[in-house]
Every structure is written in C-alpha cells, then in structure tokens.
C-alpha cells in the first residue's frame, strides 16, 4: 500500500519535472512583458507577432521540409541498406555495420565539421541542399538500427514460398517481406524525423547564409534574449503534437473485418 503510493508520487515527480519547463514556457507565451521575470498581464500579442514574423515562419517551414525530406530519403536508403547488409556474410556484415554506425557514435561537431569540409572540397554551394544532404547522412543509421531487428525475424522460407507460388521477386518483396518490415520502417522514419528536427550542431556547420532552421534561429537569439514569439511557436508545436498523438491513440478502433488482407497477415 505504502509502496504503491510511494511509486505513484515518484512517477508524479518525474512527470512534474519533465513538464514544468514546458508549462512555464506556455505560460510565458501569454505574458505581456518581454522578460520572464515579470508578469505583465495576459496577451495574445506574441501569437499575432509570430504570424507576422517571416523569418520565424521561414525557419519553421525549412525545419519541417528538411525533416520530412531527409527522413523519407534516409528511410528509403536505410531500408535498402538493411536488406543488403542482412544478406551478407558475418564478417562483412560486421564491417558494414560499424561503418554505418559512425555518424551515430561520432560527436556531432565532428560530423558537422567533416561534412562542411567535404562540401567545401567539392565546391558545393552551402544552403538548403547541403543541410538536407547532411541530415540524410546522419539519419540513415537510425533507420538501419530500427529495421535491422525486423529482418532477423524474417522467415526466408516465406519469401521463397511466394516465389514458388508464382510471384515475381518484386511482388514477393512488396507483398510478403515488406509488410513484415513495416513497423521497423515506420519507427525508423519517425526516429529520423525527430533527430532531424532536433539537430543544431550539424545544421549550423552545413547551412549557408540566409537559410535557417528553428534550432539555429533560436540559438542566434541567445545574445539578446529569446523573443516571446518563440514561446508562442513552441506552445503551438507542443499542442499540435499532443493533439495528433491523442487522435492517433484514442480514435475509435476499426472493425477487423473491414480491413482487406487482414486474414492473410494473421497467418
């Protein structure tokens, strides 16, 4: 009994410490005063200012498009790489896995500066493209990491059986192997998306003049203090994600029979 409530208090404390900063930020986004030290009254003006601020909106759209595009590209490349690697012998697999893991194990600043020097030596103009390329680079290992365990669970006989039953290799892959890999691919995509959203250091070194993502934009405001528009934007992003998650998790469960192909996948 006591243990139970102690556990509950402990969990409660953890949740409190995790969310208190976010709540503070949300409250401050309605603060009429620019400083966090003083409550100047309730206002929506930062939200209005946010939608007037082209620089922030541009940074937001850059961030989202880079995250989406890089996660999609990394998922494609990463999945293909996983399939190839899983078909290798033990020794070459170990070699390739350690190579693909480098961007993940390396300190971000090393990856960032290395990429910058690489782009420089090829004479590539810095801008949106270089950020995208670097994000794809560091996203690939995350996709490989989450798809790899799935390929280990694959039963090779199923694929062969599909071929025996007259499916082309293409059909056999998309109808038999791919559905089995899908959960891994999805989580790889989401992971890559998150990593890309979150990144500051690599973006900083590979971005060109005039192209900003949210993280670099926020960081440049450090000298003069973060502007409350950023609080407003963060509040909106937090709420959007929260609502999306609630919708995904609490929507009505569809009937099993209504889904075509359900019988097959249950085998």
């Amino acid at each position: 009994m006591i243990k139970k409530s102690a556990e509950k208090i402990y969990t409660g404390l953890i949740v409190l410490f995790m969310y208190a900063p976010i709540v503070t930020l949300m409250v401050l986004s309605f603060n009429n005063s620019k400083t966090r030290a003083k409550w100047g009254g309730f206002t929506f003006k930062w939200y209005a200012a946010l939608f007037d601020n082209q620089a922030i909106l541009q940074a937001l759209s850059n961030t989202l498009s880079i995250a989406l595009l890089s996660a999609a590209a990394a998922t494609l490349i990463g999945t293909a790489a996983t399939l190839a690697i899983s078909g290798m012998g033990r020794r070459s697999r170990a070699v390739f896995m350690s190579v693909t893991n480098i961007p993940m194990l390396n300190a971000e600043i090393v990856t960032g500066i290395s990429l910058m020097l690489l782009f420089l030596s090829f004479g590539i103009r810095f801008g949106f493209g270089t950020i995208l390329l670097s994000h794809i680079t560091f996203n690939i290992p995350y996709v490989i990491l989450s798809v790899m365990p799935r390929t280990k669970q694959l039963n090779p006989s199923v694929y062969e059986a599909a071929l025996d039953l007259g499916a082309s290799r293409f059909q056999a892959f998309f109808r038999v192997v791919f559905p089995d890999l899908l959960p891994g691919i999805v989580s790889g995509f989401l992971m890559a998306f998150t990593m890309s959203l979150d990144d500051f250091i690599i973006t900083h070194f590979t971005k060109g003049p005039g192209v900003d993502t949210l993280s670099t934009k926020i960081y440049t405001e450090v000298k003069k203090g973060i502007k409350p528009e950023m609080y407003a934007l963060s509040t909106l992003i937090f709420l959007t994600v929260l609502i999306l998650l609630l919708l995904v998790n609490y929507r009505p469960k569809p009937q099993d029979a209504a889904i075509p192909g359900a019988e097959r996948t249950q085998k």
Binding site: T35, R36, A37, K38, L182, F189, G208, K223, V248
Partner: protein, 363 residues
C-alpha cells in the same frame, strides 16, 4: 491488422506535416523577390537580433540590392565558418578582439573610406580612437555598436555606494552576486581590481587574478551570461556584472536597478562592420555599411537594440532627452581612467586564460 494501423498512422502524420509545410512555404515565399535584387545582393553576417529588420527592407527598396541576412551567436562560432570559407559573406559584424584576430590572419580587406561618406561624417572621434586598439589606423572596421561593462545593482538590496569592483567580494552579498560566465569578462573584473591591464599576458598577474576569482567563488550565486538580465529584473540577485546595453532595458523593467562603471576602469567593447577578403560583392558591402551609418537608420537600430550607437548624428536625433544624455548609454569616456578594449592574445594567450579559468570553475 496491426501493421495496417501503423501504416495508417504514418500516412496521417505525414499528410498533416505536408499540409503544414505547404501552408507555411506558401505564405513565406509569396512576398519575396519583388523589386529588390535588381542590383545584385549583399550577404550580411551579424549577431542575432542585432538590427532593426525594417532597416533591411529600407535598404532593399532604396538601392535595389537584395539582402541575404545570416546571424551568429558568438564570435567564436562565426570565426571558423568565415575562415574555412564555407559561406562567403560580404559584411560581418565581429567584436574588437575578433577583428584583430581576423586582421592578423589576413581575412579582411581594407575599406575605401571615399565610398563611406556617412561613416566618416557621423561616427564620433572618440570611437575611432578606441578602435585603434584593435584596428590600428582604422583601416578595416566601422564601429556599429559599443558599450561598457559594469555593475548592475538593486538599490533596495545594496546599502553602500557602489563604485568599485571590490563590492563583488563583499561577504554581505554572499549568494547575491552574478558573474559573467566567460573567460575574458570574468578575468577582466579581477585584473582591473588588481590594477592590471585586462589584456595582461603576465603569468603572475593572471595567477593573482585567478586566486581572487577562486576567493570570490563561494559568494557567487551563479556564473551566467544572458540570465543576468532576467535575474536582476526579478530581484533574484543584488549585484551583477552586465553589459551597458542591457542596463537601459533592465531599468525600464525594474526602476530599482542602477548601473555603474567602477572606478578601477573597465572594458569598452565595440562591434564593428568589416568586409572579408573573399566577399563576392564588396561594392554592395560598402553601400550597406554606409547605409547603416546614416543618422536616421542608426537611430532606428539604436531604438531596436538599445545598445549605444557610436553615431553622433543619430544621437542628436534621439527624442527622449533622458536617454540622449544618459550616462549609461553615452558615458563620457574621457572621465574614466583605465578604459581598455580587448585585444587578441594569440593562441598562446587564449590557452593561458582558458587554463586558469578551468582552475577557477573546477574548484
């Protein structure tokens, strides 16, 4: 069945994100690229939040030169990008010692002051003189913002008159003191208190300053950078070391705060416009710098940033008399002794300072 759900979730999320991105890019792109850009472009690299965005638009519509604007957060982060040539900038706004480092490493080009009539006419003589410390002969840089470093204190929490750095060692204010969390700024305080130059390279002087900082450490509430501002406004500390530009803003928010330049002298810092050697559009860069020195433009920027402007003609235009004659924003430099500006100490000097600072911080 389970796979289908995951798939659907993914499709839903992706669709939502695409929609959002589309909406934002749509409204972001619509008004760019109008009249501006007919006369080429100028790529500016400045501190974050260090310019009134309206002045950029005015520059674009008056000259037809498109401004590509980029921001950095510290001199140290700006330097490797410029040195590596990763991005080629036309105009950069580094601080004093960093300008010297860039001159030493042959990264800057000399300015042609015939193309900078506004700079010649409007920037006050004392700022050119101060700039000589890091840019001998005033050949490479045009001052943009400047200020001092001093003590911000709360009148209700401090009884005695504040006029010396030594009050930061007064045990009465234990746990109520905020120090700057950066090597040179922290050592400046200790070196000045000991009567030394803040650009000292003498190991004995530095060791004495280090010991002084270690002695002070138990009294310090926190080593911070930009939080000094908010903490002082919120009455969370009695004394803080702060840049003068923030003093005007903090006083506006909390009238109990007062700023002083200690009698032992302090750091006079200057951020100036420079043109790097590899600038793709040096003519446009000169036009940009000269535009920023126009009195009306400098005034707009002063009002936006609240950091002191070296532009005497702009100062004349300030309507609020209290600010125009404020001794915080525009102290008469000749009244103080031992005012200095940071100079670049070379790699060896940087190493020495960093080593000592580590010893202070790790105690």
């Amino acid at each position: 069945m389970k796979r289908k759900t995951v798939w659907k979730k993914l499709v839903g999320l992706t669709a939502a994100c695409c929609l959002l991105t589309g909406l934002l890019t749509g409204c972001g792109a619509s008004d760019a690229g109008s009249a501006a850009g007919d006369n080429g472009e100028v790529i500016v690299y400045n501190w974050g939040e260090y310019i009134d965005p309206d002045t950029l638009e005015m520059f674009e519509s008056e000259t037809g030169i498109r401004v590509i604007y980029d921001e950095f957060e510290t001199n140290e982060i700006m330097y490797p990008k410029v040195e590596a040539g990763a991005s080629q900038y036309d105009v950069i706004c580094p601080s004093d010692y960093m300008i010297q480092k860039m001159i030493d490493n042959d990264l800057l080009q000399e300015l042609d002051f015939d193309n900078l009539p506004n700079a010649k006419a409007n920037i006050g003589a004392q700022y050119w003189e101060q700039s000589e410390q890091f840019d001998p002969g005033n050949r490479y840089s045009v001052p943009y913002c400047w200020g001092t470093v001093g003590i911000l204190y709360n009148k209700t929490m401090v009884d005695e008159p504040v006029d010396s750095w030594s009050i930061l060692w007064n045990e009465k204010y234990a746990d109520n003191i905020l120090m700057q969390d950066s090597v040179r700024d922290a050592f400046m305080v200790a070196l000045k208190l000991n009567g030394c130059s803040m650009n000292s390279m003498d190991p004995d002087e530095l060791a004495a300053a280090r010991d002084l900082l270690i002695e002070q450490k138990p009294l310090v509430q926190a080593y911070v950078i930009d939080q000094v501002r908010d903490k002082m406004i919120g009455n969370e500390a009695a004394l803080g070391v702060i840049y003068s530009g923030e003093a005007i803003y903090t006083q506006r928010e909390n009238p109990d705060l007062e700023y002083v330049i200690p009698k032992e002298g302090t750091n006079v810092w200057i951020d100036s416009w420079v043109i790097p050697k590899n600038a793709p559009n040096p003519e446009n860069a000169e036009k940009f710098i000269d535009f920023m020195c126009r009195p009306d433009i400098a005034l707009l920027n002063f009002e936006y940033i609240t950091y002191s402007t070296p532009n005497d003609a702009a100062r004349e235009l300030i309507e609020d008399e209290d600010i125009r004659n404020s001794s915080i924003a525009f102290p008469d430099l000749s009244q103080y002794e031992n005012l200095e500006t940071f100079t670049y100490l070379g790699e060896e000097g940087d190493g020495l300072y960093n080593e000592m600072w580590k010893e202070v911080k790790s105690r």
